[in-house]
Symmetry: C2
Subunit: 345 residues, 2 copies
């Protein structure tokens, strides 16, 4: 497997992205194409030890900055590292692309260059989150803010295929995020989506409430991108807030400092277990190719993991599985397909 890495994307690029690539090729049987300014990348690689036949450079003269609008970046920066990386996938010179750069631009570029899979109306961004017993996938987390029930059905199929492949789970439990477990609970979107999911060819376990998403009772949790983004951000914000508050309270009690020293290894383990970088980034699902969008603040370890997961996804042909599942579903529900084409037209 060969992964095209947008080496210039991310807050600590290119040194950290290059370090992540080196870790990946040293640890796994994967090749990485570093996409970006050749001179800068050669500098970054200098004096490093790695299996040199596994890392190559593909020159790109431009870098998309974080403040640029996706449409302008696509129009103007035709030689950007992010675009060149995705083009390598299109030309089948790489099996997958990874970028820790501007996520909106990465998504728009992937859509523009690779296109959508047949029967997909809306590609989605999924994210892996830690639960009490392992990990779950939340889909969509920001690509689509106003959704129709058909979109949520697509998300369910996409999440199902991804989870199966990446976690080797034969039958992931798919749940719909809502405000009550009964099928009558929810808003218009979820009530209609519930009916579609019940009849979809997946292991649908019904609605899941906000309080239960971290329980480990569902493997894939489906929602529209507005809610998904808010749930993701609220969770990140709350986890940080709780740790800050605990630290403050601990330093306020007499025995706190000593106690803190004693539980420090446990805090470290906790942070490791809940570290987003274990799965390296958010897969963009529903496009005709494999693309992973990593956090701007990705560490070398996060980049390494993103490269591994991207190679894994490409090897297991997750996007083809999604296309097959949606094509079977479209055969069963021709009206849903028509509705989608209608909405597109």
């Amino acid at each position: 497997m060969k992964v095209a890495l947008d080496a210039m994307g991310g807050d600590f690029a290119p040194d950290v992205t290059v370090a992540g690539a080196i870790e990946a090729v040293s640890e796994y049987d994967i090749k990485v194409v570093l996409v970006g300014d050749r001179q800068r990348l050669e500098e970054s690689l200098k004096n490093k030890r790695y299996p040199s036949e596994r890392i190559s450079i593909h020159h790109a003269s431009e870098v998309v900055e974080m403040h640029e609008a996706p449409s302008a970046a696509i129009r103007r920066k035709k030689d950007s590292s992010i675009r060149r990386a995705i083009e390598l996938v299109k030309k089948q010179e790489a099996d997958a692309a990874v970028s820790a750069g501007h996520s909106g631009v990465a998504m728009a570029t992937a859509l523009f260059i690779l296109g959508k899979l047949p029967n997909v109306d809306r590609p989605a961004i999924a994210t892996i989150m830690p639960s009490l017993t392992g990990y779950f996938l939340l889909i969509d987390v920001g690509a689509n803010v106003d959704c129709k029930p058909e979109n949520l059905r697509e998300f369910a199929y996409m999440g199902n295929a991804y989870y199966k492949a990446v976690f080797n789970a034969p039958s992931p439990r798919i749940a719909l995020l809502s405000i009550g477990e009964e099928d009558t609970k929810g808003n218009e979107l979820t009530k209609e989506s519930f009916k579609l999911l019940k009849n979809a060819d997946i292991n649908f376990t019904g609605n899941i409430e906000g309080k239960d998403i971290f329980s480990g009772n569902a493997d894939v949790i489906v929602c529209d991108g507005f809610i998904g983004n808010i749930v993701l951000k609220v969770s990140e914000g709350l986890a940080e807030t709780i740790l800050k508050m605990l630290k403050r309270e601990i330093s306020d009690v007499t025995t706190g400092k000593l106690g803190y020293m004693m539980i420090k290894p446990a805090l470290r383990n906790f942070k490791k277990r809940t570290d987003y970088s274990e799965y390296g980034g958010a897969p963009l699902l529903g496009i005709n190719g494999t693309c992973i969008i990593s956090h701007g603040r990705s560490s070398a370890r996060a980049i390494k993991n993103a490269v591994r997961v991207a190679a894994d996804m490409a090897g297991k042909k997750v996007h083809e599985t999604i296309a097959e599942a949606l094509s079977r579903d479209a055969g069963k529900h021709p009206s849903a397909k028509e509705e989608i084409s209608h909405a597109k037209g």
Copy 2:
């Protein structure tokens, strides 16, 4: 001030509700009418010490169970404790009502008996949540799952009036929950709502992202009831999960147990600071009267606080302030009012 307490509502009723009433009348200059089965309540009061002129009993022969549907409960249980409590407010024999019973039934009954305030399309449930620096109000958290922008404007006015009164804040900072700080970020509902809030007679500070809601940067956070409920429940679930995971990690390291003993007072302080029961429950805003819905698992302390806040709200005439603000707003935006009447018709 006299508060009608649904003494039969809640998981630990009536003993805990009665205990909460006793705490409230002992601590504050408030009278409480315990509404429920007279014999059972007299039993619960027996041998307790309290200023007896401040507690009275209003008999109600029925209790609404947690599994009952609001419409059926209203139709069939005309002598329920929850209904009788709210009727006392309607008849001006009490200034406010508090119930820790079935929240859906409490809301539907309050709406049915007390009615909506003029210019209110959708009453809302608000909830107080802890932040890094104090508390913020999230509105709506479940009463309205599908909203129009006009509803979010109403929620903003209601939250503003409530926060001003209960926290003695002259100009609460009102923010709109969305997926980006710029006014162009969000879904259709929030983008339209942003325009209305910008022109509303409140201290609107713009969009707030999920990651920042606990930062203390906003006093009132406005959203539709579906999102609000999910944010509330995700937060409760995540806080519990983090504490469980931390405990597990702590007990897994050698020095953990001793360290845990040493930080225990800090954990206690943390729990106290983040305790929902400090404000006793969720005010139902937009109805023609004062009504607080408490958590089913409310402790005596939570009931005491709910009674205190209910008396405070009634004394400060929060519902009249809301009516005035919305009437001024309707005068400024007659089209918005028309749109609402149209939607109702």
